[in-house]
């Protein structure tokens, strides 16, 4: 049941039109950050107001919405955002990646490959990949205009000089279609390869910073690196202790105060589906660990 006091998907039509126009321009200029008149939402900045506005502008009553935070459907903020759209848009929701038509995410790309017909909406805190090198928007805008990305390469190279490798583990910058350097939101760099050539539409919303950007399907997205230090998508060197997957991104759980740890899939839907198919891990309840 939708809340009658508010318009469908909360935002008024004029606001949705404004966001929709920004989304179309974002798709036309992949990786470029389109300024938009971000609204003050009934949840705090930092909680996903950009993603929520993008989702609200995209939703139709026929959609099935999935919301994840850290890969999980049951984290409190994912629950809260899902409820917001149940209440204001009356849309069906799902926890299954394959069943979802719109997925709003914070910090992860689902393990299950996405398909045409799906939209992945990212919540973005700081959309400007150059922000930590240059705090002024007036400067970074010029740098994008002139494709002046040398500073970024210098920073990455300094990492290599100091640490022997590029010491950026998440929000790892990418170059889109050989033009704009883009912040992929704070996803682990493990997820970066999924940005490229993805059949789904990927939309990015930064509410507080009032920016929207996008990756059309099958876009060319390259993680910045050097020939002698190529990008690698790393993860903890373990298998999931519940489903046994050796290829999924893992959460680390500390299980006692003596340093005992276990590793479980961060993507709860992926893990549950594998367990339902009979896969098990080191600590599966079945006890028949491989």
């Amino acid at each position: 049941m939708t809340d009658q006091a508010y318009n469908f998907a909360y935002l008024d039509e004029q606001t949705k039109r404004m966001i929709r126009r920004a989304l179309l321009k974002a798709l036309a200029i992949p990786g470029y950050q389109v300024p938009f008149a971000s609204r003050e939402m009934p949840m705090p900045y930092g909680w996903g107001t950009g993603g929520v506005q993008v989702t609200a502008a995209c939703l139709t009553p026929d959609d099935r919405l999935k919301v994840i935070d850290q890969g999980a459907d049951d984290t409190t903020n994912a629950v809260s955002i899902r409820r917001f759209f149940q209440r204001t848009a009356g849309v069906a929701t799902t926890e299954r990646t394959t069943d979802a038509t719109v997925i709003q995410t914070r910090h992860r790309i689902p393990e299950q490959p996405l398909a045409e017909g799906q939209i992945l909406v990212y919540q973005v805190p700081i959309p400007e990949p150059l922000r930590f090198l240059e705090p002024r928007e007036t400067e970074t805008r010029k740098m994008h205009e002139l494709e002046e990305y040398g500073l970024m390469h210098v920073k990455l190279y300094e990492d290599i000089a100091r640490h022997g490798e590029i010491a950026t583990a998440y929000a790892y910058p990418v170059r889109v279609e050989g033009r704009y350097v883009m912040d992929p939101s704070p996803i682990p760099k493990f997820d970066n390869p999924k940005l490229a050539g993805n059949p789904a539409i990927q939309l990015f919303g930064a509410g507080r910073e009032a920016r929207i950007y996008a990756l059309p399907p099958y876009s060319d997205v390259v993680s910045l690196d050097f020939e002698d230090h190529p990008f690698t998508a790393s993860k903890a060197d373990h298998a999931c202790d519940l489903c046994g997957s050796g290829s999924s991104y893992l959460d680390e759980v500390i299980t006692d105060d003596r340093g005992t740890r276990m590793f479980v899939c961060s993507d709860t839907d992926f893990c549950a589906a594998r367990q339902a198919q009979g896969h098990c891990g080191r600590l599966s309840p079945q006890g028949d660990a491989p």
Partner: protein
């Protein structure tokens, strides 16, 4: 056995119920009414209206009640409500020279047309706790003076007559609105003033104070500070004239600042301006100092690197709903990012230790 953390939904419901209980406090104590807050916590209500950018004392009082007295949270409630309101039009500029003043003081002239009106101010109270209030004693009624009928012209207008202060030609450019357009830099003065009028009082105060201590000093005098009610008028094209739709209480501060001049131009004082909804003196004075500091370029002054001169810095950080949201969001789960860093640090440590061992 480990089970993935579930129950986010139940936890949220329980947290909200508990919050409602805490908000109410001891049920043996009578509940505060919105009217009580509006009347007796008026300065808090004013701050919430000013920073919430919505002139509605009842809603601001309700927000304060709902927010358990957390004024930034109350501002947030008002802002979120305000976004959903339709826009019917734009009022005419309010005429603060025609303000019905409750308080009007000038620091630059001992007396002046319209007079000095001290009004309801804390200025000369001795800050001694009044235990009579704890006993809920009623204050005796204040003495009344007959209303003064004379006009109260702006001090800056009086200075302007003699060319002693920079002119301020009327400008009919429609006012920009940063709640409907993304902020673009450099910003116009009108846009900066809008941002400052709804900026966090504490942030504005600190910036203004920093200019007084030398970080972008502007030698400000309070030309005048006035508080009172002004009529709000809206043009109705159908009728062909403006109608008054209500009154708002405002605090206005004009500062008279450091003069400029050159070999060819005779020296003139410059202006800083503050205008805030409700009675908010501290905010209005702060705003006028920061406004003046931000005008360095227009007035041909040097940028000394002072925070209050830095438009991008001030406008990007003055909004407390933005800053509190982003600040507090770091308490949300970040274990995916942290895991990525853990993995990286562990690997780099391993490699560093291997290299050390190999060296030994």
């Amino acid at each position: 056995m480990y089970v993935a953390v579930k129950g986010g939904e139940r936890a949220i419901d329980a947290a909200h119920a508990w919050l409602a209980e805490e908000r109410r406090g001891d049920p043996a104590i009578p509940e505060l009414t919105v009217a009580q807050i509006r009347e007796q916590m008026a300065l808090a209500v004013n701050r919430v209206m000013a920073e919430g950018s919505l002139y509605d004392p009842d809603l601001a009082a309700l927000a304060i009640k709902q927010a358990r007295g957390d004024l930034i949270e109350a501002v947030f409630l008002i802002r979120a409500y305000r976004t959903t309101l339709p826009r019917f039009g734009t009022s005419r500029p309010v005429d603060t020279a025609a303000m019905a003043v409750d308080r009007r003081v000038s620091a630059t002239f001992k007396d002046l047309p319209g007079g000095q009106v001290l009004g309801p101010t804390f200025d000369y109270t001795h800050r001694l706790l009044d235990f009579a209030l704890a006993a809920e004693g009623e204050a005796p009624p204040a003495p009344q003076a007959p209303a003064r009928d004379e006009p109260v012209p702006h001090v800056t207008g009086l200075l302007d007559r003699d060319g002693l202060i920079e002119g301020q030609p009327a400008d009919d450019t429609p006012a920009p609105d940063l709640t409907r357009q993304p902020l673009e830099l450099p910003a116009s003065r009108a846009l900066r003033l809008q941002a400052l009028a709804r900026a966090d009082e504490g942030f504005t105060l600190s910036l203004a104070y920093s200019t007084q201590r030398g970080y972008g000093r502007t030698h400000a005098f309070v030309g005048e500070l006035r508080i009172g009610r002004v009529a709000v008028q809206v043009d109705l094209p159908e009728l062909g004239f403006a109608v008054e739709i209500g009154e708002v209480e405002l605090t206005e501060c004009d500062t008279v600042n450091q003069f400029k001049g050159s070999r060819t131009e005779p020296p003139q004082f410059t202006r800083g301006y503050g205008l805030v909804m409700g009675q908010s003196e501290r905010k209005a004075i702060s705003m006028s100092l920061v406004d003046r500091a931000l005008r360095w370029q227009e007035l041909g002054e040097d940028f000394t690197g002072a925070p209050a001169q830095d438009e991008e810095f001030v406008l990007s950080h003055c909004d407390n709903i933005q800053s509190t949201g982003f600040l507090e969001h770091i308490k949300l789960p970040h274990y995916v990012d942290f895991q990525a860093e853990l993995e990286l640090v562990r690997r780099m440590r391993r490699e560093a230790m291997q290299m050390q061992e190999a060296a030994e």
